[in-house]
Symmetry: C2
Subunit: 328 residues, 2 copies
């Protein structure tokens, strides 16, 4: 592309002022190829932006019929995320518009945070940090000697997709016994590489686990995949971790299970809703750690995601196959 | 041993009331073989305990000439720790008394906590947890997008003994590039198994590292092995972690390096002194996390340590070779 050729324009951004604009890293990646049009500017006179062929979704824009009607030349919606439950894929596809997401590039960041949160929860790291800062020396308390260890434990992974498998390869290095439940069973070679045992029936896996990590996509089938029945089957000492979507866990049932001591603790990067209201009782439980959906927020991963979104947009503009189309 | 045979007596415990007595787990392990004599009871009339042949060190007792003079039949000092800088080994050996410690069994617990603390520091996990709890939703801040990632980074390990090597095998599963500095170079096979690069000269290694982890024994040679000169050589974004002994880091130089931004942050499980005074400026730095020397405090590890100490005492009483004698 020479300086003569105008760069194609892409639409992004939310009308809700609480959502952030793009970081300077992102702007740099995008402006190599495109002119960025923010939703708030677009709405002033959509007729001036009829040429827009792609939407880049990053905390917005909300994509509904009204918006799509204003974009007659739209070819692609590129979401900068691996999950796409925030997008009405049927509505968009019915208009012949393609959809891309950013899988794989997030595996490392999510797997490393997921593993970290399990160890932080098991070993009471946050409590130790807070108590120490507040003047106590918790080493002198009986609890000092009795926190669970991740190394050598049994981890049940629910959802053995790319992220689940990446987590399993990390956990294997800690001599962890890996169990998994997934819609489809992994190949024998995949299982052997991580020493994993498949459970078609989730409820049969749960009693064995010291840690349970949920890493499924949110679908009608996975909504509340962890509920009251499941918590009753877990060890009283077990820790539930969730780095996927809040709604895969029945949160009310989780709160009850934690209160009555059916499980030992929880490490949640996602909740229902997000953000979780500040007065929510999960914030008050000493055996729960809550992070604000940060599992993929590393610079390396965010930039790789944005580059993959750019590659998808460029492919769509050229009529080439998309590097990472959302599966039908 | 039948019920007829009286169990041998072992001495343990501190005269300082702030130090904890043994946990019930420990007592159970010890009382299978021994009668436990606490220091405070011993001191009431040492002449009644002339038969004591072993000291079990766990937060005490302080072992000086005065105590040794009261124990004419002492054969072994068994410390429930891997480090033994708290023990005057020369004083004890000169009397023909053996020394044992508890190496290896702590590798997993220390390596998993060390790795966790590096990721927690890099990804600002504690800050995110605190801000979220306090009502903020940090996802909406620019910092959300820019924390460093552990996976794929370069880690420099200072001290490639058993614990360092265990940490390296864990880190390798995160596709981490492993550099190390050690008094002696590891075998080619050891290096290949973890893809590690040896640096005889510590200062040549430091500029390459995103993370630096200190895991050396405390000796005159390793005291302040990380000092002002070393911090200047590190990347401004790099994180220093220490899970060995506080004195291997020049703490005043570290504080200065953090203040002027010579390095990016620190994760310290050990400090000088311990506990660190509550008003210490390290507690006030947002890029520092401090844990109260908890790297080996899992139930599995503590019990394995105590069992190893028991095995050493039994061997010493029988005149057999010690399973884990402190090296000369």
């Amino acid at each position: 592309m020479t300086d003569e050729t105008p760069k194609p324009r892409i639409l992004t951004g939310s009308l809700d002022p609480k959502y952030p604009s793009l970081s300077s890293d992102y702007v740099n990646i995008l402006e190599k190829h495109f002119v960025i049009v923010y939703r708030k500017d677009f709405e002033k006179d959509p007729s001036k932006f009829q040429d827009i062929a792609a939407i880049l979704w990053r905390f917005g824009p909300k994509i509904d019929e009204e918006l799509l009607n204003k974009l007659p030349n739209l070819k692609l919606v590129a979401t900068v995320s691996v999950g796409y439950d925030h997008i009405n894929t049927a509505l968009i596809r019915n208009r012949g518009i393609k959809l891309s997401h950013t899988p794989n590039v997030m595996n490392d960041a999510i797997a490393e945070l997921g593993l970290t949160l399990m160890i932080v929860a098991a070993r009471h790291v946050v409590r130790f940090i807070e108590e120490y800062k507040n003047g106590a020396y918790p080493k002198m308390t009986p609890a000092y000697d009795v926190t669970p260890q991740f190394s050598g434990s049994t981890l049940g992974i629910i959802g053995m997709g790319r992220i689940g498998y990446t987590l399993a390869t990390r956990a294997k290095a800690f001599r962890v016994n890996i169990l998994y439940h997934n819609r489809t069973r992994r190949s024998a070679a995949d299982e052997k590489a991580i020493g994993a045992t498949y459970f078609r029936n989730l409820n049969e896996m749960l009693p064995h686990c010291d840690f349970v990590m949920v890493l499924v996509n949110l679908t009608p089938e996975t909504t509340h995949i962890m509920g009251a029945e499941q918590f009753k089957l877990m060890k009283k000492s077990a820790i539930l971790a969730n780095c996927s979507r809040g709604q895969v866990v029945d949160q009310e049932a989780l709160v009850r299970a934690l209160k009555v001591g059916e499980i030992g603790g929880a490490a949640l990067d996602v909740t229902t809703p997000e953000p979780l209201p500040n007065n929510h009782e999960l914030f008050k439980m000493s055996n729960v750690i809550l992070t604000p959906h940060i599992s993929s927020q590393t610079r390396e991963t965010r930039n790789a995601q944005m580059q993959l979104a750019v590659d998808n947009i460029l492919a769509a503009l050229d009529g080439r196959e998309l590097p990472s189309e959302i599966p039908h």
